[in-house]
């Protein structure tokens, strides 16, 4: 079979289907994941084909969903749970942070917690509050959790396979505003490692590092900059915990400038960690301080203001210009 074009949401659906097929221990759990197929239809048709014992509609209780997934994992299952929206993960935050993340260490490595927590995240869809947030730093900060986010259908397909196969808990952030974007998925390709960053556009003047929904914005920014004669390299991080600093370093050693872009607030965010590490590693290579573009230290605003809040082409390019001006 050759590559097919599919939407990111469909790629995750296909990936879950493949995993359910391959391993009877894989379970899908969450609110509305069954008949409805999830509010974004990511689990569409799975309950019909795999039954209610494998694709489990849960009560409306996030702590319950994650807490029972931990128990199921202790019993040998591999639950893939869906949190309906980013803002609703917090009732489960206690279970994720105080239990899921630490149990492997507490048990001297004798137990494994292969739980995947899928969270549609980020803004740009005009939703009401609690439906547009980017809380990835809150999870990446916690040791014991792996945190990833695909930016395109192919990564979505493969990274989900890898997350399910991982013996560690993985927080899988799905860029909801990219759910309907289509790209090629080759099911026979051999994917790169789950936590390896990838250069998605080569360039020489400056590196843009991003993940999830912002990769596309950065690619567009790089295309726009090209017209002005600037050559920008775009690195898709793919993983926020661990972060592939080696790949970023390699790019920055080439371009000598770095701008990190994410939707989440800049303050104490993923970009702060990258700026600190890259400054340490590449101090003598850098021509400008590492700059960040992201959300403000303010609650995610109402839909009519999200265009001002979210990093768009102009804000990215403005920051690129600031970096190049050093």
């Amino acid at each position: 079979m050759t590559a097919e074009k599919m939407a990111l949401a469909k790629a995750i659906n296909e990936s879950l289907r493949t995993a359910l097929d391959a391993d009877p221990k894989v379970l899908i759990m969450g609110e509305d994941v069954g008949k409805l197929g999830g509010v974004f239809r990511v689990t569409d048709g799975l309950q019909k084909d795999f039954g209610e014992d494998r694709v489990i509609d849960t009560p409306l209780a996030e702590s319950g969903i994650v807490g029972t997934a931990i128990g199921l994992a202790l019993r040998g299952y591999r639950p893939v749970v869906e949190i309906q929206f980013d803002g609703f993960v917090f009732p489960a935050y206690d279970q994720i942070v105080t239990q899921l993340a630490k149990m492997h260490a507490r048990a001297l490595g004798k137990i494994k917690l292969p739980v995947v927590i899928r969270i549609p995240y980020g803004g740009g869809i005009g939703a009401v509050e609690h439906h547009s947030e980017s809380p990835e730093a809150l999870f990446a900060h916690v040791a014991g959790l792996k945190v990833v986010s695909p930016s395109n259908a192919s990564d979505a397909y493969w990274m989900m396979q890898q997350a399910i196969l991982s013996d560690d808990p993985v927080i899988f952030f799905e860029p909801k505003r990219r759910y309907w974007d289509k790209s090629e998925v080759n099911r026979e390709a051999i994917p790169g490692p789950l936590h390896k960053a990838r250069v998605v556009r080569e360039g020489t003047d400056l590196t843009l590092a991003a993940y999830g929904p912002m990769v596309k914005v950065c690619q567009e920014a790089a295309a726009a900059a090209q017209e002005e004669g600037k050559s920008l390299e775009v690195v898709d991080l793919r993983s926020m915990s661990p972060i592939d600093f080696d790949s970023i370093q390699a790019s920055v050693e080439k371009t000598r400038r770095l701008v990190v872009v994410h939707e989440a607030p800049v303050f104490l965010g993923t970009g702060a960690e990258i700026a600190a590490r890259i400054t340490e590693r590449c101090f003598y290579h850098l021509e400008a301080p590492v700059l960040r573009v992201g959300g403000y230290h303010a609650p995610y605003p109402p839909a009519r203001l999200e265009d001002e809040y979210l990093p768009g082409l102009d804000r990215v390019l403005d920051t690129v210009d600031r970096s190049l001006a050093y």
Partner: protein, 388 residues
């Protein structure tokens, strides 16, 4: 639960009979408090009649008017969403009696903690319906001052507000006041830990709070059976306070039962759980597609229990309202629809700097710094524009 006697145990099912009637556990509540049948006939209820005994014909017409106007407002909002004026709408269609009955049972000094669908309760509290639309249009994340009508902001995170309600009620008790609190939530919310914890706290501290659960049978695609194996009102028993199930499509019964519960709270007798048994006639929200998970026949079966038609029949049969009243109300309803439409269309987008407003009460240097950067960035566009 009942304990079956071990002696003389009978087979569960004898040939021919499918099921024997389940014996009610001792002390259980009547199944469904009803004062108006679906056909609009007034039925007696020894326990709750007293709470509507002195209701005047004018008040009865008022309840009907509230329901009609609320439905009209809701329909207008739904069509405004379809026209792209609102980003989303959560319709209350079918739940008017539960909301108006309970809302009209509250006193001015009571405090209401709603979820995101309580447009009828907001109406009873005197919140301008137009204010409810800002958040669904995407111009704000709230839209009103909760203290001006003792009506808290809509809460989207399921179940959270039941704890706020309980804490507020604990405060009332500490102050020695005789107000009460009412917390709204859905059948789905009953699964949340926060709701269980609010039951625990309110019982332990004997808080003057009424938990008003609108069991509209669905939590998006999940039926109530996916949340609970016992009728919801029976949950209260395990926490040590009374639970009662009321016909949620019967505005009189909802009024009476809620009054009873609020008065208990005022007397210092603690919390009550009211389960209003009703039905969500439409989609969960305008983004939902109920055809994926529920049958048409179900909706049809509930249509005949419509809360508004039921009250109209009663008003007509008892000569409490004449044609003139209904005609006038129709005109009023049209006017409300028109006003809502105009207000929404004229609703301006917020100022860009609203992002940085009210992040802190005391101010914050980081916010100030980011606001200044934002201003400089915005100004750079303005300059470019002028240069051209």
């Amino acid at each position: 639960m009942t304990v079956e006697s071990t002696a003389a145990r009978k087979p569960r099912r004898s040939a021919g009979t499918k099921r024997t009637a389940a014996k009610k556990p001792p002390g259980s509540q009547p199944d469904l408090v009803q004062l108006l049948t679906p056909e609009g006939k007034r039925v007696e209820n020894g326990e709750y009649d007293a709470y509507v005994a002195d209701i005047t014909p004018e008040e009865l017409r008022g309840l009907y008017r509230d329901m009609v106007l609320t439905r009209r407002f809701d329909a207008e909002a739904t069509s405004l969403q379809r026209q792209g004026e609102l980003g989303l709408w959560a319709s209350l269609l079918g739940q008017e009696a539960a909301q108006i009955g309970s809302g009209r049972a509250t006193r001015e000094d009571d405090y209401v903690f709603p979820t995101y669908r309580e447009h009828g309760v907001a109406w009873c509290r005197g919140v301008d319906p137009a204010n409810l639309l800002g958040m669904f249009r995407g111009v704000n994340n709230g839209g009103w001052d909760p203290n001006s009508n003792n009506f808290h902001l809509y809460t989207i995170v399921i179940g959270s507000q039941t704890l706020h309600a309980t804490g507020y009620a604990m405060g009332i008790a500490k102050d020695g006041a005789d107000s009460a609190v009412i917390a709204y939530f859905g059948d789905g919310a009953s699964s949340q830990g926060d709701v269980a914890e609010s039951f625990t706290f309110s019982a332990v501290y004997n808080a003057p709070v009424v938990f008003f659960c609108q069991n509209n049978q669905w939590a998006i695609s999940e039926p109530t059976e996916r949340q609970t194996r016992v009728p919801l009102y029976q949950r209260a028993q395990g926490y040590g306070f009374p639970g009662v199930r009321v016909d949620g499509n019967d505005v009189l019964a909802c009024l009476a039962v809620t009054k009873w519960a609020l008065e208990r709270a005022r007397r210092g007798e603690g919390p009550t759980l009211v389960e209003a048994y009703t039905y969500r006639m439409g989609a969960h929200t305008t983004s939902d597609d109920p055809t994926k998970y529920r049958a048409d026949e179900e909706r049809q079966a509930w249509e005949v229990k419509d809360p508004i038609q039921r009250m109209r029949t009663y008003l007509e049969d008892s000569n409490h309202a004449d044609e003139g009243f209904f005609a006038e109300l129709e005109a009023e309803s049209e006017a409300l629809g028109k006003r809502v439409r105009e207000v929404v269309r004229a609703m301006p987008d917020p100022d860009h700097f609203a992002i940085f407003e009210n992040v802190y009460a005391d101010g914050h240097t980081l916010v100030d710094e980011e606001r200044a950067q934002f201003a400089a960035y915005q100004a750079s566009f303005a300059d470019e524009g002028e240069g051209k």
